[in-house]
Symmetry: C2
Subunit: 278 residues, 2 copies
């Protein structure tokens, strides 16, 4: 069970989100808790080694936590993954990244879930919130209709677009741009003028409600969507999922982890991630 000492240490450390503000932490805890409550019977405990569930660099100015829970074979969940990274910056500030994602297995073609909050200062937020599609949407207008039009995800994107401090965020990786959906929320919010208070207000009053709605859509329509998938499609999904995951690890972590945590720790974490993502 999750309260076993062997798992409990890493998980409780993860759920602390110790380096971010209260509204940021509360949002992450709410999202993770909502998924765990709803998918409880589908999820196994995290079995990552303790030194992958929590790791830091030699000088102690960078710390990170990683939790992965696989789904039972009989469930549509492949795994859910949560992480935070904290890194003190030479400028005196800190970089904080918190993320949570949920991956379905090829028994369904429904979209995955992804949220990532990147804070390079207390008045800066890059938000990525999406249900990344598992098929080529240009070739499947019905899939687009079902998961992106009928669910009115665009109206949620527009809510956050309308925040005065918000502007569209373009990932520097073209590949990442290719794997998100047309309603992906990719936004940069800067509240230098309004200060930290304004950022906390935006997190509480705007980002939080939208993130919870999008997660609710994912839980209702995707995780429990009960889609029929044929044999030929299963191998297509396996191939596409596998490629996207391996490219995503490479782009997200392949260069940043060694830089932040040194080659040895980075190697250990990346190997564990590749094991999960394979």
């Amino acid at each position: 069970s999750l309260t076993d000492p062997q798992y409990g240490g890493g998980r409780s450390r993860f759920m602390e989100f110790p380096h971010v503000s209260a509204p940021h932490r509360d949002l992450m805890v709410e999202l993770v808790s909502a998924v765990e409550a709803r998918l409880d019977s589908c999820l196994l405990p995290c079995t990552l080694p303790p030194d992958v569930q929590y790791y830091e660099n030699q000088s102690g100015n960078a710390q990170a936590s990683l939790q992965v829970r696989s789904g039972h074979d009989s469930s549509p969940i492949d795994f859910v993954l949560g992480s935070w990274i904290h890194c003190q910056l030479p400028s005196g500030g800190a970089l904080n990244i918190t993320s949570f994602s949920a991956y379905l297995n090829p028994s369904t073609d429904a979209p995955n879930f992804l949220i990532e909050l990147i804070r390079s200062s207390p008045t800066s937020l890059v938000l990525i919130l999406d249900l990344p599609p598992r098929k080529d949407l240009a070739l499947d207008p019905d899939y687009l209709q079902t998961f992106y039009e009928d669910t009115k995800l665009e109206s949620r994107r527009q809510l956050l677009e309308k925040i005065p401090e918000s502007q569209p965020y373009f990932s520097s990786s073209l590949y990442i741009r290719c794997i998100v959906s047309p309603t992906a929320i990719m936004t940069r919010i800067e509240t230098e003028a309004g200060g930290v208070e304004r950022m906390e207000e935006i997190l509480q009053s705007h980002v939080g409600p939208v993130a919870k709605e999008v997660l609710g859509i994912w839980l209702d329509q995707c995780a429990f969507g009960e889609r029929e998938v044929g044999d030929s499609e299963i191998s297509y999904l396996e191939k596409r999922d596998r490629l996207i995951r391996s490219k995503t690890i490479e782009i997200d972590l392949g260069s940043s982890l060694p830089r932040l945590f040194g080659p040895e720790t980075a190697g250990r974490v990346l190997e564990a991630m590749r094991g999960v993502f394979k």
Copy 2:
């Protein structure tokens, strides 16, 4: 030849771009001329009926021109398509849309070319400029590398993004968002403060040079890119191209043409377009 009276009328009327400003017209003429010069030996004359090459509505406050030139069977060009639409608005202003696109056939998998300028007033421009991919980029990182990374298209997108009056444009159609590339230039430029002069300057000094560069990349790397395509891929390309074209017509013109030109004219034009796009 293009100077035959039966073709010349429609073509010269098209090339007049009679309702847009000089810098806007010059840009369109330059792009069309550059393609025709470079692809000359590949292109057949336009064979659309005269009442599709030029059409207007009953009250005469909406006019449009359409030119389609198919490629020779031995060429990689399927067809090139140019159009303008002019429509007086009840407010006293006018809506002007000019577009030019080039479609390759399944003997190559290289991207197509697309430029569209939408002017709802003399100080407003929506620009869509892209090499739309012909494959699922999530599944083909090499294709992404070849046509979008190695060609440095992102740096051109960023040039136009940096114009102070520019902001990202999100198509109201989710499907259109799905078929453009990750480096697509989709931008809305509003120069109310700087007036018409500033818009003309932006067209001449920023939009024009970038559009010509992107077209040059398309001509060099795509139209004359000499890609090897296997048999199984040809049927994939045929299927994907056909679906995208039919959805695009439906979205772009399916509701707007009947509204602007009445059901009879719209029906005639749409039927001709479907014949070309099939």
